[in-house]
C-alpha cells in the first residue's frame, strides 16, 4: 500500500495508535457509529457524556470526523482520497471484526497490533484471573528496568 487511508476507532484514540505511527500524515477518519450509539443490541443508547469524551479525544488527533454507517463512511473517505488500501489497529470488540469483513471486499485492509501489555506465547488459561496472572505477572515485570 502506497496511499492508504487510516481508519481510527474507539479502542485507539491516542498517538500510540500503530496506524498513526506507521503512516504519519496520511488522511485518517473516525466514524461515530450511529447504530452503536443509538443502542445496537444488546447495549443501550449511550449518553452524551461518553460521546463528548470521545469527541474531545479525537480533537487532539489528526482525524476527520464523520457519523453514520462505519464501513460506508470509511470506504467513501478512501474513495475521496484515491486510497489504495485501509490501515487500522486491532480491536477486541466483535463489532470491529464485522466491519472489517464489510471493508475487505472493496480494498486491501491492514490491521496493525498495538504494543501489548504482556506478550504470552500459546494458549492462555483464562478460567480465572489468578490462572492468567500466574503466567502474566512475571512477563509484565520482565520489562521493568530495575528487575
Amino acid at each position: 500500500m502506497k496511499h492508504p487511508i487510516l481508519w481510527i476507532h474507539g479502542e485507539a484514540l491516542g498517538p500510540s495508535n500503530p496506524a498513526l505511527l506507521a503512516y504519519p500524515g496520511r488522511p485518517a477518519v473516525f466514524v461515530f457509529d450511529t447504530a452503536l450509539l443509538e443502542g445496537a443490541t444488546p447495549a443501550a443508547a449511550i449518553s452524551l457524556k461518553r460521546i463528548g469524551f470521545l469527541y474531545e479525544c479525537l480533537l487532539e488527533l489528526p482525524v476527520t470526523l464523520r457519523q453514520g454507517d462505519v464501513a460506508e463512511q470509511v470506504l467513501a473517505f478512501a474513495r475521496a482520497h484515491g486510497a489504495d488500501g485501509i490501515v487500522t489497529s486491532a480491536a477486541t470488540d466483535p463489532r470491529f471484526s464485522a466491519i472489517c469483513l464489510q471493508l475487505e471486499p472493496h480494498l486491501p485492509l491492514q490491521v496493525l497490533e498495538p504494543e501489548p501489555f504482556v506478550a504470552l506465547e500459546g494458549p492462555v488459561d483464562l478460567g480465572r484471573f489468578s490462572r492468567y496472572w500466574r503466567r502474566a505477572e512475571g512477563a509484565a515485570w520482565r520489562v521493568w528496568p530495575g528487575g
Binding site: A44, A45, P114, A136
Partner: protein, 277 residues
C-alpha cells in the same frame, strides 16, 4: 463562566461536505453542537475532559505505592486513568512503563501493575467469548431462581431516589460525571443485583450508557463477578464496610442512619436474608 476554545489539531487534507466540526468557540459550544448531532443521547458533557493532554497530566500524578495502600477508599489515591485506557488514549503498555519509571522496589507497584493486568485479562476474555460476555458464564450461586431477577431498572434507581444516601450519591455521580470509584461500582452493583433482585445485564447496560470507561468486557464480567455467575460466591458488603471506605460521608447524612439501613447487619445475617442456599 465562558470556557476556553476547543480547537482540533489541523488536518493536512481538505474538508469534505458532511465532515463534523473540529473547531468550537468553547466547551459549551461543543456541547451544544453534540446535542444537535446526537439528539438521542441523554444529558450533557461530563466535567471529565477527554484527550491525551489531560491523560498525560493524570499519568504524571500516579503514586503506585500510595495506590497499593489506599485504593479501596473513595478518597484514596486512585489514578482515574480508566476512561483514557479504555479508549486507547493511553495504552496499557504506556501506563505500565510510567509505573515502572516510578518504581524503586517492585513490591511498591505490584498492586497497580496487577490492576492493569485485570484490564488485559478482561480484554483477552472478550476476545475468547465475543458476545458471550452478555450470558451467564456459570450458574448463579445465590440459590435464587434466575426468573426471580427483574428485567427492568427500577424507577427509583433510574432517578437516584432510593432514599439511601450512599446509593443515591453514587447514582448522581454516575449520571453527572460518568465515573465512579471501583468500590462504589461494586456496592451499587451488589445492591441492584442482590438487594433489589435485578438481572445483572440490566445494571451492565445502565453502566455502559453512562461510564466514560464503559467497556463491555470489564463491565459485564465484573457485574457477573458481583452476581456470582463468574465467581465462587456472590459479592455483598455491609454498612460497616461501606462506612469505613467512604469515610462515613454518606451515613452521617442518611435518613436511615439510625433505623432501617438495609446494609446494617453482619455478613452472616445478610447472607441468610438475601440468598436461598
Amino acid at each position: 463562566m465562558a470556557t476556553p476554545p476547543r480547537s482540533g489539531v489541523p488536518l493536512a487534507w481538505p474538508e469534505q461536505p458532511g465532515d463534523l466540526a473540529r473547531q468550537f468557540a468553547s466547551r459549551d459550544a461543543l456541547e451544544h453542537e453534540l446535542k444537535q448531532l446526537f439528539p438521542q443521547a441523554e444529558g450533557g458533557l461530563s466535567p471529565i475532559e477527554g484527550g491525551r493532554r489531560r491523560a498525560e497530566q493524570l499519568l504524571g500524578r500516579i503514586q503506585p505505592q500510595r495506590y497499593g495502600k489506599g485504593r479501596n477508599f473513595l478518597d484514596g489515591p486512585v489514578t482515574r486513568l480508566s476512561p483514557y485506557i479504555r479508549h486507547g488514549v493511553l495504552t496499557l503498555a504506556e501506563v505500565r512503563d510510567a509505573v515502572f519509571r516510578r518504581t524503586r522496589q517492585r513490591q511498591e507497584s505490584e498492586k497497580l501493575i496487577n490492576e492493569l493486568g485485570w484490564r488485559d485479562y478482561w480484554q483477552r476474555l472478550w476476545g475468547q467469548l465475543g458476545d458471550g460476555i452478555w450470558q451467564d458464564q456459570e450458574p448463579l450461586k445465590t440459590g435464587v431462581a434466575a426468573s426471580s431477577y427483574a428485567a427492568d431498572l427500577p424507577d427509583d434507581i433510574a432517578t437516584g431516589s432510593t432514599g439511601l444516601a450512599c446509593m443515591d450519591g453514587f447514582i448522581a455521580e454516575l449520571h453527572s460525571s460518568g465515573w465512579l470509584h471501583n468500590h462504589a461500582r461494586m456496592w451499587l452493583a451488589s445492591y441492584l443485583v442482590h438487594w433489589r433482585r435485578v438481572r445483572w445485564q440490566v445494571g451492565a447496560c445502565w453502566f455502559l450508557q453512562h461510564l466514560l470507561d464503559g467497556d463491555p468486557a470489564s463491565n459485564n464480567l465484573s457485574w457477573q463477578w458481583v452476581a456470582s455467575s463468574f465467581s465462587h460466591k456472590p459479592y455483598i458488603f455491609n454498612r460497616s464496610n461501606l462506612e469505613r471506605y467512604s469515610g462515613g460521608r454518606y451515613c452521617t447524612a442518611c435518613p436511615l442512619r439510625d433505623r432501617g439501613c438495609p446494609f446494617e447487619a453482619s455478613y452472616e445475617e445478610l447472607d441468610s436474608r438475601l440468598f436461598q442456599r
